[in-house]
């Protein structure tokens, strides 16, 4: 491996990395918003909306992101909506992520015992107060491992953005290999930057998990 080549590529990768990170995290935030909304609808079994949410979840969980991006990027303009690649990537990722987050948060909500709701209602709390202050925080603690896995999954899925000509990490690597044939260096940097993107998420995830779950369940070591 030629370190000079690696060094000269770094600025190009940093640019692609920042773009990937930006779109990835916008997508993740969107996914959380959709996931909380979707889980709320399913948890309260809201009529009509529940059926729509179920259809949305099944549709997006059971089709590849690439196909979804093609639909948004090439399909919407046909219907008269112009959309740029960055927005398309973030929205596509958000929609895919929203379907996963909905399921993860909903299963967390379902795992909170019914007596918790009844206690809160017995104390005079409204349904929305109960949901926000009692049920959702507990559901999050229960769902954290699944949510962290979803975030990592979504950030990795950014690698298909190159298909809609977004100059993300994957696009950059392919482009450089195509132009200069420095395959080893290009792939090396690709792996390094993905790890830089994802390792902190893994670490932060474990830390949040430890902290939030410890409050509720303890970890056996610190006991009483």
């Amino acid at each position: 491996m030629n370190t000079e080549v690696v060094n000269s590529y770094i600025p190009i990768y940093v640019k692609a990395f920042l773009l990937t990170l930006k779109i990835g995290w916008v997508g993740v935030v969107l996914a959380f918003i959709l996931g909380i909304a979707g889980a709320f609808v399913l948890y309260f079994k809201l009529p009509v909306l529940s059926a729509l949410t179920r259809a949305y979840v099944e549709l997006f969980r059971n089709t590849p992101l690439l196909v979804q991006l093609f639909f948004i990027y090439y399909g919407l303009p046909v219907l008269g909506f112009k959309i740029n690649a960055e927005v398309c990537g973030a929205v596509g990722l958000g929609l895919l992520g929203g379907s996963y987050m909905t399921e993860s948060i909903r299963s967390g909500l379902d795992a909170v015992p019914k007596i918790q709701t009844e206690s809160a209602v017995s104390l005079g709390m409204s349904r929305s107060q109960t949901f926000l202050s009692v049920i959702l925080p507990q559901a999050f603690s229960i769902s954290i491992p699944a949510l962290v896995a979803n975030v990592i999954f979504l950030l990795k899925e950014t690698s298909v953005f190159s298909a809609i000509s977004l100059m993300d990490l994957m696009f950059t690597a392919k482009d450089l290999i195509g132009l200069y044939y420095n395959t080893t260096e290009s792939l090396f940097l690709l792996v390094v930057f993905y790890i830089i993107m994802l390792l902190p998420v893994s670490f932060a995830g474990s830390m949040i998990e430890k902290k939030m779950r410890f409050k509720m369940f303890g970890d056996g070591k610190h006991g009483i």
């Binding site: 104390l123 005079g124 409204s126 303890g218």
Partner: protein, 237 residues
């Protein structure tokens, strides 16, 4: 004791689909009165309390309450993600919009009273069952309900913790709180009750004072029910 009726249950009927769980139940509680509800398992005691505090829809009759109820359940139902103090303060702050300092002060006073001030910053998982139930009682109390409902609050406790919880309820009776208590602790029932309601098969079979109920129950069903506790008292003496 004042004569004002705080809680009035009028011809209440509760069904789950075809199953009639409570049938034509009528009774009332005056201010400061302590009424104990006893009866065999499955006779509808929990359902009665749940109908009174609005957790269940009723099919017929009426429940009228002067003010609001507070309830303590059999299972420890503290909010596990909140500390003891936060458990106590959540509803007063969110529902009653009271001032934080005032609520915290009252929470600490009440915790002191049940001997748990030292646990204020701990989480429910760090408490014993008896401690959790005492916190649950305080959590109901701090909302200043006109009627307190207790549903077998010691039934899930280890025997050595039953006493500490019952003592708290006895203390509340001395403060003239109005309470409707479901319990299987017969000695406690006899000591705390102004009146005993015996429920069987979803109906009120007896509604009388504790001396009469425990001393000379009128009905065959009550006698049979009380006999199931005899082994217990033989054991204890």
């Amino acid at each position: 004791m004042e004569e004002k009726e705080i809680l009035k249950v009028d011809h209440l009927t509760k069904k789950y689909e075809d199953l009639t769980v409570l049938e034509d139940i009528s009774f009332s509680l005056k201010k400061g009165e302590v009424v104990v509800v006893v009866g065999p398992s499955g006779c509808g005691k929990s359902t009665l309390l749940r109908c009174i505090n609005g957790l269940e829809e009723i099919q017929d009759g009426k429940v009228s309450i002067e003010g609001k109820t507070g309830m303590v359940f059999q299972s420890y139902d503290l909010f596990p993600h909140l500390s003891v103090l936060q458990n106590l303060m959540l509803a007063p702050l969110k529902v009653q919009k009271r001032k934080k300092e005032e609520v915290q002060k009252e929470a600490e006073q009440l915790l002191e009273r049940v001997g748990l001030l030292a646990k204020a910053k701990q989480y429910p998982r760090q408490l014993s069952g008896g401690q959790k139930q005492r916190v649950a009682i305080v959590r109901a109390l701090i909302m200043h309900p006109e009627v307190l409902l207790f549903d077998e609050v010691t039934a899930a406790l280890d025997p050595e913790m039953v006493r500490e919880v019952l003592d708290v309820i006895m203390d509340l009776a001395k403060q003239d709180k109005t309470m409707l208590i479901v319990t299987h602790e017969m000695a406690f029932a006899r000591a705390v009750a102004d009146r005993v309601i015996f429920l069987d098969g979803g109906s009120v079979i007896e509604d009388t004072d504790p001396e009469n109920f425990f001393g000379s129950p009128r009905t065959e069903r009550a006698k049979r029910f009380l006999r199931t506790f005899e082994f217990e008292s033989v054991n204890a003496s």
